[in-house]
């Protein structure tokens, strides 16, 4: 006789009345393959945990963003925000699509150069630029975005020493209705500081002012904030023309478009509430086009979009190590990927999904990483089916910031692979090993 399908025995308490965040058990989504390649196959070949990036998703997302802006505004230029994901293979995908590079350190600058980006197509942001960094940027004719007065004076001094000109913009901080305001970066718009800085730059003989920059924050859920920012920069753009008879080349609105991840504490899933590229593009283009700027002098619009272009393309594949019951009877599960690999788990409720049908019974669970630390929690409350030891799971939307902010801790960082447009896999960052890590160490005792 054929045996019946087994389903683990379960008893669950019925909570009376009290609003339970989850309501009816949800239908379970399953991610069984990425770009047509089965998850088990990827993990068999490249190990677990494993970061997987989809070139197809990157290109599709980029095309969508580009189209949203180019159909509304005549001159648009994206600059890939290196800090979001600076693996060379990823940067190359963006550069091949026409993206410039946006960097915030000497290291990122050199990385962009080594990826073949022309120095004049590098935007150099951030509060940390040493004299050495500035010298490199001047020599490569980069666009230097000045963050504060000390940097401005250091830059004037450096151009004098080199007897060379620098192409500059300033970073402006402003009230776009987004709280808290990131007023620690750049020069303030509302109190006139930005205008003062512009006046000083216009007087400096070795500085050529070419643009205006702002970055109002990250994961901005209201498109209208960009309209306010664009309007304020447009005002400065016109004021410079009026006073100095000088047209700048560009307005750079930074990054900050929300990815489809869900913030902790958000009621609705981010995939439903975050604006689309079209909505951001509409807000920004309208604001600039309807400003005082004459049509023939419209600036190039620069965008340093990071997370919204890469988050969706990244997956982390992981394996269940153990199931436990807490002393409160709560179901907990340990997986082999910890918060050291998933920095974004601190502010997102990341989506974790089985790679195959595991059980129809879902239960509110806590998912722990494998680290020996209490903070290592990937999800503190998620409705999840009963997975067994060895089952393979997929964490989605992890392409941004994780592969740059990760920490080597306790064990090696895993392989990162890229699936190309033909569906071929490539390791783009090798799993670390003892030699690679020890190669930085010096031991005076031996």
């Amino acid at each position: 006789m054929e045996k019946l399908k087994y389903e683990k025995p379960i008893i669950s308490k019925i909570t009376a009345g009290v609003p339970n965040k989850f309501g009816l058990p949800a239908k379970q989504k399953i991610i069984s393959e990425i770009d047509g390649i089965p998850v088990p196959k990827l993990m068999e070949e490249f190990g677990s945990p494993l970061f997987v990036l989809s070139e197809k998703t990157i290109k599709d997302t980029y095309a969508e963003a580009k189209q949203a802006f180019e159909t509304r505004y005549p001159k648009v230029q994206f600059a890939w925000s290196y800090k979001t994901n600076y693996l060379d293979a990823i940067c190359s995908v963006f550069h091949d699509e026409g993206s410039w590079a946006e960097v915030v350190s000497g290291f990122e600058f050199e990385k962009a150069l080594s990826n073949g980006v022309n120095g004049s197509n590098i935007i150099f942001n951030g509060p940390d630029k040493s004299e050495e960094d500035l010298t490199m940027a001047i020599n490569h004719n980069a666009c230097i975005h000045i963050d504060h007065f000390d940097e401005l004076y250091l830059l004037i001094e450096t151009t004098r020493k080199l007897n060379k000109k620098a192409r500059v913009a300033i970073r402006v901080n402003l009230d776009a209705g987004i709280y808290p305001i990131w007023d620690r970066f750049g020069f303030n718009y509302e109190n006139g500081e930005a205008w003062n800085a512009i006046n000083r730059i216009m007087l400096a003989e070795n500085l050529e002012m070419i643009g205006l920059h702002t970055h109002i924050g990250t994961y901005i859920m209201v498109a209208s904030a960009y309209a306010i920012a664009a309007t304020k920069l447009s005002n400065l753009y016109m004021a410079i023309h009026k006073k100095f008879d000088h047209w700048l080349k560009y307005i750079d609105l930074g990054g900050g478009f929300a990815s489809k991840n869900t913030l902790k504490g958000a009621y609705m899933p981010g995939s439903e509430t975050c604006p689309t590229f079209d909505e951001y593009a509409e807000a920004i283009s309208n604001a600039i086009i309807s400003s005082e700027i004459p049509h023939e002098n419209l600036p190039v619009l620069f965008l340093e979009t990071g997370r919204a272009l890469i988050d969706d393309a990244g997956y982390l594949l992981t394996t269940v190590l153990a199931n436990k019951r807490s002393t409160q009877g709560r179901r907990t599960m340990v997986i082999d990927a910890g918060v050291n690999l998933l920095f974004t788990s601190f502010w997102y409720n990341l989506g974790v999904f089985p790679s195959k049908e595991v059980s129809s019974h879902v239960e509110e669970s806590t998912i722990y990483g494998p680290l020996c630390m209490n903070i290592d929690v990937i999800r503190d409350a998620i409705n999840f089916p009963h997975a067994k030891v060895g089952d393979q799971l997929v964490i989605e939307r992890v392409g941004a910031y994780n592969m740059t902010q990760w920490m080597q801790f306790i064990t090696f960082r895993p392989n990162v692979i890229l699936i190309d447009l033909e569906g071929k896999t490539h390791i783009i960052r090798k799993k670390e090993n003892l030699d690679s890590l020890q190669s930085f160490e010096l031991n005076p005792k031996r």
């Binding site: 309501g23 009816l24 439903e272």
Partner: protein, 348 residues
Amino acid sequence: MAKQKITLAVTGLNNTDNPGPGVPVIRGAKESEDFDVRVIGLVYENLEPGIYMEDLCDRIFQIPYPSSGSDELIERIEQIHQQEKIDVLIPNFDAELFSFMKNEQRLLDKEIHTFLPSLKQFQERDKDKLAEYGKKYGVKVPGSINLGTINQISDLEDKFDYPVMIKGQFYDAYEAGNEEQVKQAFYKISAKWGFPVIAQEFVKGTEVNVIALGDGKGNTIAAVPMRKQYITDKGKAWGGITLADEKMMELTRMLIQKTKWKGGMELELIKTNSGEYYLIEINPRIPAWVYLAVGAGQNIPDALIKLALGWDVKPMTKYKIGKMFVRYSFDMIVDLEKFAAISMNKEI
């Protein structure tokens, strides 16, 4: 003429001390002169009192919270629709509206009719945009500052005298009488509801409310003003009385005219001693005290169903002044079977 048979689905059967409007909406619909209503109760929880009330609902179904994703919620509604053929759906929770507004067309394609404000109408009345709203539509609103950090307290002190109201974007409001209390409220609210935290000028006066229904073309189909006579510690009316206040009516008609509001709404106003009206909040749905309007002669649920079905509805302009409602609590005796059925089968 025989009444038209329709099937009405309603959420918000939580007639607790912080009541949802579902039960009074159903009462209104059942008193309709034009419809013979079959009622489908949609519940999130197994203890919503409406489940247990005799002769209220013909069927009950549990539905998933919108936070698990609109698709799941809508799929469940579609599945119920296959069995029950819903003609009109009246959602009654703020938190649901987003999902239902977004899926209005999808539901309509299945012949489930709703009558909801547009996303734009819904969003422009957000609490942190009240100042702009007041300017745009010419209504007085209390001065407010959106707080992103605690350092803005000095701005607040420059602008307003204590006390001030400190509010969250979605829920929660505290009166704060000094800097320390502002800080406390700020931390409490920002931890729960995020930024901005809204600091509002405290307007002295009496709180008055209007329940209204707009047809989406600028006409006010129904409007009844009311003063809360007793407010519970949850801030809910426990008793209220209809008013004769032409100014409130004008204000309501003007707002509905200018915004072309579609659907039910509640205006929360403060009437100052000098007779000025300040708008403090707009609730984008029928409020829980809707049955007072029905009792006073304006059957708002009935009119909303007609609008949803595309009927031509004439504005109701009369209502009885001085009608009161008094809420009461009542212990129903119910059998465990009903509780077991909704908990286990997710439907009754």
